[in-house]
């Protein structure tokens, strides 16, 4: 058997999770050598970034073009009052490197778009989608399907949220199988219109981070071929089966070249 490469400090830092049957020293080394990409450093991305850095993900690739605004602070707990007007990537890297120097943070402050999505996510072991708009979720879906990278997508509004995980190599149901037509996406309500309680983002963000860890360690059950729906007002945690569309334009038997050709309209959403 191979010798562990953990330092004394790492053994102590991660001791409470090394002790877990599902993790151990072998698992901890897997986490430390893994690369996770996170799109969005807002409400969902904040707990994802915190908990993945804390758990010892070795390389975190964080992507967000936006700057911190005061209205973010009730839910985007990665950012503080004195970060207002700072790029979210700059705010994030400052906190995460203090939290855990083991975690190498790579920042990308460009708008995540079809022009750069493949290059940005290439070489990721897992991708976590934490944006606040459907076109970006769809672009993440299509890009990860194309690159065959496992990923998870979540969304929150008011007191509820949803999450699903897609494993392209296993041909599980993808986001486009369920929500193909996004032509009306711009007419959907945003957090600024409908409102959102901050902590629902915390719950869903933590579940997203957990999906990444479970996949990397090959433990537990992923939220595959289903959507987990959470309503914190009614204390409901429901799992809804969703089925793969064999004619899906992203993951079906005859996939289209969507990243290159589909009009996601991301720039329009952000105007």
């Amino acid at each position: 058997m191979e010798k562990m490469n953990l330092t004394e400090e790492q053994i102590e830092r991660y001791s409470r999770q090394i002790v877990l049957k599902e993790v151990g020293g072998v698992g901890q080394e897997k986490l430390l050598s893994s690369r996770v990409s996170l799109i969005g450093l807002g409400a969902l991305g904040s707990p994802v970034a915190y908990y993945l850095a804390a758990a010892g993900i070795g390389h975190l690739n964080i992507i967000d073009y936006d700057s911190v605004e005061i209205s973010n602070l009730h839910r985007q707990v990665l950012h503080f009052t004195n970060d207002i007007n700072t790029k979210k990537t700059e705010s994030a890297i400052e906190k995460l490197t203090i939290l855990n120097p083991d975690c190498t943070i790579e920042i990308n402050s460009e708008l995540f778009s079809p022009d750069n999505s493949k290059e940005t996510l290439r070489d990721s072991d897992f991708v976590i989608e934490g944006s606040n708009n459907i076109p970006t979720k769809m672009l993440v879906n299509d890009t990860c399907i194309n690159l065959k990278i496992p990923f998870t997508i979540a969304g929150v509004l008011r007191f509820h949220g949803e999450i699903m995980t897609i494993i392209p190599e296993e041909k599980t149901t993808c986001y486009r199988c369920v929500f193909d037509d996004i032509s009306d996406a711009s007419k959907g309500m945003s957090c600024s219109e409908a409102g959102v309680i901050g902590l629902i983002s915390g719950v869903l963000g933590c579940i997203e981070a957990n999906e990444a860890i479970k996949h990397i360690l090959n433990i537990g059950d992923l939220i595959k071929n289903k959507i987990l729906y959470i309503d914190l007002l009614k204390n409901k945690f429901d799992s809804i089966d969703v089925y793969r569309n064999e004619n899906c334009r992203a993951c079906g038997e005859h996939p289209e070249n969507l990243v290159e050709n589909y009009q996601y309209g991301i720039e329009d959403i952000l105007k």
């Binding site: 058997m1 191979e2 090394i18 002790v19 020293g25």
Partner: protein, 64 residues
């Protein structure tokens, strides 16, 4: 932390290898073997009390 170090060492060993763990905390003589058993890591073969020094014990564990 004793169980953490025990577990990490066991991960480096092959099946049926024997690991000796020295403890000076009485409760650990019970908790370390129990945790090893619970996680199917190792079975306790023997506990020896080490009388030469202040109270201490040597656990012998066989990797499963």
């Amino acid at each position: 932390m004793t169980f953490v170090y025990t577990k990490l060492k066991l991960e480096e060993l092959n099946k049926d290898d024997i690991l000796g763990v020295t403890l000076d905390f009485p409760a650990a003589t019970k908790s370390v073997p129990e945790n090893c058993k619970r996680q199917s890591l190792a079975e306790l073969i023997e506990i020896q009390e080490i009388k030469e020094t202040k109270k201490a014990w040597l656990l012998k564990l066989r990797k499963l």
